[in-house]
Amino acid sequence: EDKVVQSPLSLVVHEGDTVTLNCSYEVTNFRSLLWYKQEKKAPTFLFMLTSSGIEKKSGRLSSILDKKELFSILNITATQTGDSAVYLCAVEGDSGGGADGLTFGKGTHLIIQP
């Protein structure tokens, strides 16, 4: 059974701080690892990672994957109050049938205090 564990489950920091969110996983025939940001409703896509060691960046956010250690991190630098959200990590495997769905972790609830 595929599994995703995120840590910490919640985090409160001050504006301007840098945060690192962790995601470890177990998956059958790894295809990709994805990070999403969930505010009020739908998860919005941040990154898709398929190869180890290649950092993906978007503004103040970056993420990297370690397929040997089955681990990914999401970094947010110079945090702003608008970064407050639940950050979801998900993996996609390939069970050998059709289009497997994503397996999500419980998320990290990030609160940025002004």
């Binding site: 295809r31 999403y36 409703k41 059709g98 994503l102 999500f104 419980k106 998320g107």
Partner: protein, 121 residues
């Protein structure tokens, strides 16, 4: 920018009633998914759909659930006889392309709709 839409945003129903949740995926996408999120819990995969048939389904997707693509644009999730524990946020997602796992091709992410909050009384 194209987006996945879902209707209604909130549905309240009595236990035992049938509900149909509707989704309009992004127009050129080929793979469609339903997920649910019970309040305070993680997002869970229900079913994937490709080429007009179910591709994969989870243990949650039992005989009470069905999916359909009745026309070229809508993708629906039907719950035949709702139970209290079906109360959740239901998300539809769509994806352009899946790619071969062994190839170097890029994989496209799943885009999520805003969700339908289903409340079963």
């Amino acid at each position: 920018e194209p987006e996945v839409t879902q209707t209604p945003s909130h549905q309240v129903t009595q236990m035992g009633q049938e509900v149909i949740l509707r989704c309009v995926p992004i127009s050129n996408h080929l793979y469609f998914y339903w997920y649910r999120q019970i309040l305070g819990q993680k997002v869970e995969f229900l079913v994937s759909f490709y080429n007009n048939e179910i591709s994969e389904k989870s243990e949650i997707f039992d005989d009470q659930f069905s999916v359909e693509r009745p026309d070229g644009s809508n993708f629906t999730l039907k719950i035949r006889s709702t139970k209290l524990e079906d109360s959740a946020m239901y998300f539809c997602a769509s994806r352009l392309f899946r790619g071969a796992a062994s190839s170097g091709s890029s994989y496209n992410e799943q885009f999520f709709g805003p969700g339908t909050r289903l409340t079963v009384l």
